[in-house]
Symmetry: C2
Subunit: 264 residues, 2 copies
Amino acid sequence: MSRTAANAMRAKESARVRLAGAPSQVTPLKPAGRMRRRVRRGEALFGAGDPFSALFVVRAGHFKSLASSANGQVQVTGFPMVGDVLGLDGIDTGFHQCDVVAFDNAEVFVLPFAECEQWSRDTANGQRLMRRLLAREITRGHDHMLLLSATRAEQRVAIFLLDLSERYRRLGESRSRFVLRMTRQDIGSFLGLQLETVSRLLSHFQREGFIQVQGRETSMLDFPALWRLSGHTPDSHRPVIEPLLDPQGNLLHVADTDNGLVRM
Amino acid sequence: MSRTAANAMRAKESARVRLAGAPSQVTPLKPAGRMRRRVRRGEALFGAGDPFSALFVVRAGHFKSLASSANGQVQVTGFPMVGDVLGLDGIDTGFHQCDVVAFDNAEVFVLPFAECEQWSRDTANGQRLMRRLLAREITRGHDHMLLLSATRAEQRVAIFLLDLSERYRRLGESRSRFVLRMTRQDIGSFLGLQLETVSRLLSHFQREGFIQVQGRETSMLDFPALWRLSGHTPDSHRPVIEPLLDPQGNLLHVADTDNGLVRM
DNA sequence: CGCTACATTGATGATTGTCAACAAGTGTGG
DNA sequence: CCACACTTGTTGACAATCATCAATGTAGCG
């Protein structure tokens, strides 16, 4: 089954189930998610210092986001992919604080921030959604800090692989076979390690039979072993991230009383 | 563009606009900041899993905030003090994700979240303030990640000391003499180091004449040296953090077009 | 006053960063 | 189409930093 089909099915079911419980919560929503922007491989969606005017939702492609300190130190803070929201870092100051660069030819939905603000003012759902997007970003930051302070490099790499795998699974793709879009250096920066350490550990995991790597082609062979190395358990992971848009680009509606979604 | 350049640009623009446009932005604000809560030394203001119902602004005292992962790993994510806002992490799920513990007998203003929501819906200023509080927390997270990925422990400790010094200065206290409220272990957790490493580096800094430490009594003796170790420059630091309340507990008002403050 | 938590310091070894060489893949231009 | 430069990835040798273990000292608190 194609990934699109799988997602459509899930979305449909989700809509049905939730509609029963929270019909009164449904309110009309402007189809602002129609505006799109293409970003070519290697190009930046936006850079630190750019004036902030819109949020973006990834529709296709893979990105990396980079935070940089004044002294020139740069760190990869994330690898956004389909369904992820970008640009939240610009809300505070009105200027983006991060660079976001595309790994491949990508496409994003553009949500002009003025509209988001309006929507956030006019509807309780909009307000909730905006708040939760921001709050989730904070939680993501905490998770990353915990990752960075994980003592052993082995542990960090294992967590990284499992996390990526889980994200692909949620998108309806294979959780055991995927392509690493980023370089070893990007991974290293994200994990607070040198690229050689990353390379060595991937090779090590392969020798142990936990994974198979050939360049960026990756297969997860032994999940239990990786979970053991990661120090976590499969279910100990974060709650499911609610998408803002469905695969067709329709805005979703966040109900109040539960964490469910209603398709508009 | 570098962060420094962006900040400089913003500051300049902000200054200009503030003088011209801000006064008309003033609107009445409910004095919700009057409700208080005391927290005794060692007690938790809230803990992970507690239902979220309010935000807090520190009025007096010192805290540490702790993020914990499912496997039991705990990390210090910050050392909130007077003027800092606590509880933002609970907005997403309705339950707090962090523990916040007082180092001394402390007092906080309580801002019931229902009021914040109402205020955020009814006034443009409220909306802005809420958003910016959240967005700032995201930026703070990025800064901490950069700190954690600073390669050398020496650098991390230097940054930690300078950051603390700067925060005290902003509160009108001495930037060169202060007391570390937290243990070496807390510092280590915050910096991703072992407590022994922290202790050793503080001793080392003292031998070099950069600081003087005696237990938790700390004097900063050689700022230039510390800046050099930190890899930063004094002005490369964060923009001034806007307080939510002034020292008397009056709510402040954030104007729209700039980053200035107007006292209500 | 003794207990407990906290801090300092030393010795040691493991993990990881650094430097270096080389291989493999990618894109460019002749 | 091939040669070439360039980026990326792998692997080895070595050194340095930092974690670990352990002993001792110190301050705060009942």
